[in-house]
Symmetry: C2
Subunit: 192 residues, 2 copies
């Protein structure tokens, strides 16, 4: 629904009703059932996508069928493949729904038009990119400096609000360890 997005926008920037209408006019709503793909590896991704309801994940699959989760996207967050969007190259990632979800799609050209005509919107987009970059820097720092146990704890600390919506094995994938290791970390933690 557009109202979720509208609330999100008005919470962050000032927009006239004309501007809101302009944005609403370029939005396509897409509903996804649990496990349904939004993007599959090899697709070219041409949208910006706002999650208005549900929960998605971005991941790759290696030759053994093992999943590597790059990102979680709950409602009120953006998703998509920036690399494919920017370069027009086929996506190296898959995005699918962990829960029944709804995403608002804005096609690349329309999105750029909105950015060009509404400066506040453009600023918002850049500040999101800025924040995404900082988040990924923090994750890299965790990856190169922390043990499996500390990365798990770090994940719970940072994402306590959504951790209980995510199966353990997906958290494991996100932080780069096996599900069994998480089980053992938890077992040891209980002991203490």
């Amino acid at each position: 629904m557009f109202s979720v997005f509208q609330k999100y926008l008005l919470d962050k920037i000032q927009l006239s009703s004309q501007e809101l209408e302009q944005i609403e006019a370029v939005i396509k709503v897409k509903k996804l059932r649990k496990k349904q793909f939004l993007v599959q590896e090899g697709d070219v991704w041409r949208y910006n996508a706002f999650v208005s309801r549900g929960f998605l994940k971005t991941f790759s699959i290696d030759s053994n069928g093992k999943e590597y989760i790059m990102n979680f996207s709950p409602e009120n967050y953006w998703t998509g493949d920036r690399e494919s969007l920017a370069s027009g190259s086929p996506s190296r990632f898959n995005i699918d729904a962990i829960e029944d979800s709804e995403v608002l799609l804005i096609e690349k050209e329309n999105f750029e038009m909105v950015c060009n005509t509404i400066p506040q919107f453009n600023n918002l987009v850049n500040s999101i990119l800025q924040k995404s970059f900082v988040v990924s820097q923090n994750r890299i720092h965790a990856n190169i400096s922390l043990s499996a146990e500390d990365r798990y704890q770090d994940f719970l600390d940072r994402y306590s609000a959504i951790a209980n919506r995510i199966p353990q094995h997906m958290i494991a994938s996100y932080i780069g360890i096996t599900p069994e290791t998480i089980t053992r970390i938890r077992r040891n933690a209980v002991k203490k």
Copy 2:
């Protein structure tokens, strides 16, 4: 020297001589000797910095004095702490010179002014941020999906142009392994 930066800019965007002068007017040159700090943990970082000569690294230090390298910045790349710059919070990282270097500093306010008055410059800045994000996503993917050996090989593949300017133990730190492990990887590789 400004000429390096000018060449970099003109290679990427069109600028009139007035615009170039406007940029030159806000630049401060800072020379750094090998091992000299540009930023230390706890400092507030208020600049955008372009490396016109030399080679810097961004890193944190843990309580045992161990270094974790977040980034390498050779000439023609940008450096600095985006998080501190954006939020005004003290930096969690250090930046120092691996080689004798020269950086061009633009203060935050001046940088924003240039962004606001020269749209092409603003676009360039955003596209750099975009690319930085993609690079960090790729690094995360390597961290969570590859073994030590494969991460090392991946690093050499991606950064063959600068790998020989970086001591082994710094590559080790960047990819999140110990220097001894790199030695052993190399020993095994020679065998084959």
